[in-house]
């Protein structure tokens, strides 16, 4: 019997040609992924001379590895490094917790309860906000006074306006609205957010970045967790409710433990995005709340050009924790994302 090039010669095995193609592809890509990281690592052990005098590839053979860049960062600039590290840890961690918590609550209620907000009331609110922005921005009205007026106007007239017309939104619309926030490029909102924090004197604080990152990542959390909650059978909760549990108890005791994979994937994703974010940090943190990406970028500012060696060290210490986390949680990521992705 004659076989095609891509037909296996034996049952349960791969055709030799297929094997060659697959392994070539996978190995080539592994090389492409690993080489930049390898270069990063060896650069961190090079002296300025070893970097500047041309490409050297293999430590001990081509060049003599030196710890001088590591010393620079961990001995001379220890305070700066540790502060940036500490800031990044606190901010990424808090933002992730906040985002996952708030987002899961929202996703859960969206997957279990029918909401029917009135579009007209919402439009009315948005119009009030526009009015307030114009008043504050263009005519220099007092911030707090205007806000107070907006809130008062809203609560006084919301019902009346809502009665005039009623266009009910569905849960799907709310969900779509939340998820679509992801379309917003940071650049669109960053300037007003900057001014907002400035006016309440929160610029360059942890809280400002935590809040910002939490909100920026909310759409991801809501999207992934909504699909995850939807995939959990309702009977379990219903039986818990029959046993007399409140909604909060059901959520904590039944739903949360069942959605562990989804939570792990979501948490990791949000953590990565918060840890690596640069643009918001650039605007909002100037010195005290500086995060690691800013520290890395700052290596470019010296008069001696880019300090490649110390920058490499900074990038390495920055990626070690996330990579470790990702390797440990890798299994959950594909499983957790799967639910969201497969459901579309």
């Amino acid at each position: 019997m004659k076989y095609g090039l891509f037909e296996p010669r034996k049952i349960g095995e791969m055709a030799p040609a297929t094997k060659v193609v697959l392994y070539t592809l996978l190995l080539a890509w592994s090389l492409f992924v690993i080489f930049p990281i390898y270069w990063l690592v060896i650069t961190s052990f090079k002296t300025p001379a070893a970097v500047n005098e041309g490409p050297f590839f293999i430590p001990w053979v081509d060049f003599k590895p030196s710890l001088h860049a590591w010393r620079d960062l961990f001995v001379y600039d220890l305070a700066d490094t540790m502060r940036a590290y500490f800031n990044s840890v606190v901010i990424a961690f808090s933002a992730t917790v906040l985002s996952v918590f708030v987002g899961s609550l929202a996703a859960y209620s969206l997957s279990r309860i029918e909401f029917a907000p009135n579009l007209i009331t919402i439009l009315y609110f948005v119009l009030l906000l526009i009015g307030a922005s114009v008043a504050i921005g263009v005519y220099g009205a007092d911030l707090w006074l205007t806000l107070a007026i907006v809130v008062a106007m809203f609560f006084l007239l919301a019902r009346a306006v809502g009665r005039l017309y009623s266009v009910r939104l569905k849960n799907g619309d709310i969900l779509f609205w939340i998820i679509s926030q992801r379309i917003l490029a940071p650049i669109v909102v960053v300037v007003p957010i900057y001014m907002m924090f400035q006016s309440v004197r929160l610029l360059d604080t942890h809280l400002a970045l935590i809040l910002t990152y939490a909100v920026v990542n909310l759409p991801i959390v809501v999207w992934l967790m909504f699909d995850f909650f939807n995939s959990i059978p309702r009977d379990l909760e219903e039986s818990a409710q029959l046993d007399g549990a409140t909604m909060i108890m059901t959520f904590r005791e039944v739903v949360m433990p069942l959605s562990r994979t989804g939570l792990a994937a979501t948490t990791l994703l949000v953590m990565i995005f918060s840890w690596n974010e640069y643009l918001f940090a650039l605007f909002i943190s100037t010195s005290k709340a500086q995060t690691l990406p800013i520290l890395v970028a700052a290596m470019n500012a010296g008069e001696r050009g880019i300090l490649w060696w110390t920058m490499s060290v900074a990038i390495i210490i920055m990626i070690i924790p996330v990579v470790a986390l990702a390797v440990v949680l890798q299994k959950y990521i594909s499983k957790g994302l799967l639910v969201g992705a497969v459901k579309g």
């Binding site: 019997m1 076989y3 037909e7 296996p8 010669r9 034996k10 049952i11 349960g12 095995e13």
Partner: protein, 363 residues
């Protein structure tokens, strides 16, 4: 309809399985299985779940490699041949219908792969669909069908290519009881009219008894007995087969044979020239015995329950931790907890070596 039926049938091929072995790592899933299936035969692989039936079937299909042994289909050695060149069709337990293709596209897929011209393909799809009475549902997606209909799509997809061998892995196990009965009859009819050699895997002995020309009973990867349903039922080769076939299963009494006579507590039965053995099990079918007055039968026991199944009454006896069941006519009455005798036809009794499980035969 009849014209198409003959049209679809092909020259059936026999299958010969020689010393099949399958290892999953160190686990010996299939042990030295040899089996000849003659052309046009309906052979059922029967056994409890996990005994290696699917493994054997998948090896025949070419989905699983054969660790050692040979497989012949017709007069060709196909042990190393890819599934698509084996000229087989398979029906999966999950039906494995392509969810994004319509019923018609599902049925026609094997022909599409073979680059059959469109007109010819459409005619074949219609013919196959008519065979399983699906011709009105050709444009539906599998998701919009009931379980029985999906089952039929899977069947149609199998018959459209006119393979020389059909392989079916528990095709009816996902249907409810009533539908299963109907589909069983249809399957039997279809196999009969097409005359295609079929190997059918099930753990349900009723399916095996009703469908098979011959049944192969398996346990722990080993073939236990091969024979017609009648043979394996009335003439079990060993204790496992005896206990597996029949519902309720055969009654067993443990004892010994001395001087050609079987004795257990309260039982004494002449055997047909069996040699002496210290551990022997006597087996007799519930329908081969009757309940009689205490002391009148071969053995006495206490009545445990009386169950009415409509067409008959099942009397369960209990003595120690052993129980025995006797089938009686439907209007039979007896007081629970009373003592009664059991009388059976000694010529239908079987004797087994308790240790090896093998049937004892006159030397």
């Amino acid at each position: 309809m009849n014209a198409e039926t003959t049209d679809l049938s092909v020259a059936a091929k026999g299958i010969s399985i020689r010393e099949f072995n399958k290892y999953y790592g160190a686990f010996h899933a299939l042990k030295n299985m040899s089996l000849e299936v003659s052309p046009g035969e309906f052979l059922v692989l029967l056994g409890p779940s996990g005994c290696g039936k699917s493994t054997a079937l998948r090896m025949i299909a070419g989905l699983e490699s054969i660790t050692s042994g040979t497989l012949m289909i017709g007069d060709q050695d196909v042990s190393q041949v890819l599934p698509k060149y084996r000229d087989i069709a398979m029906v999966f337990q999950s039906y494995a219908l392509y969810p994004h293709k319509t019923v018609g596209e599902n049925i026609g897929f094997p022909l599409k792969v073979a680059k059959t011209p469109k007109a010819e393909m459409d005619a074949a799809i219609l013919a196959a669909a008519e065979q399983v009475e699906l011709e009105t549902l050709l444009d539906r997606l599998p998701g919009q069908l009931s379980g029985g209909q999906r089952q039929r799509v899977a069947l149609a997809r199998a018959i459209i290519r006119r393979p020389s061998v059909f392989l079916m892995d528990e095709p009816l196990s996902n249907l409810d009881a009533k539908l299963r009965g109907n589909m069983r009859a249809e399957l039997k009819h279809m196999q009969n009219s097409l005359g295609i050699t079929t190997i059918y895997v099930t753990h349900d002995q009723i399916e095996a008894m009703t469908l098979a020309h011959r049944v192969a009973i398996m346990k722990d990867g080993e073939l236990q007995q091969l024979g017609t349903p009648k043979e394996v039922y009335s003439n079990p080769e060993n204790l496992f087969v005896a206990g597996f076939m029949g519902s309720p299963p055969m009654n067993f009494v443990e004892g010994a044979i001395a001087n050609g006579v079987f004795t257990a507590d309260g039982v004494s039965l002449p055997t047909n020239q069996l040699s002496d053995l210290s551990k022997v099990t006597l087996g007799f079918r519930p329908e081969d015995c009757t309940v009689v007055e205490k002391g009148q039968g071969q053995l006495d026991a206490q009545v445990f329950t009386l169950e009415m199944t409509g067409d008959q009454s099942l009397v369960t006896f209990r003595s120690g931790d052993k129980s025995m069941v006797v089938k009686m006519p439907k209007d039979f009455e007896i007081e629970p907890a009373s003592y009664a005798g059991i009388a059976f036809d000694a010529s239908h009794a079987c004797f087994f070596d308790t240790d090896s499980g093998q049937r004892l035969r006159p030397s």
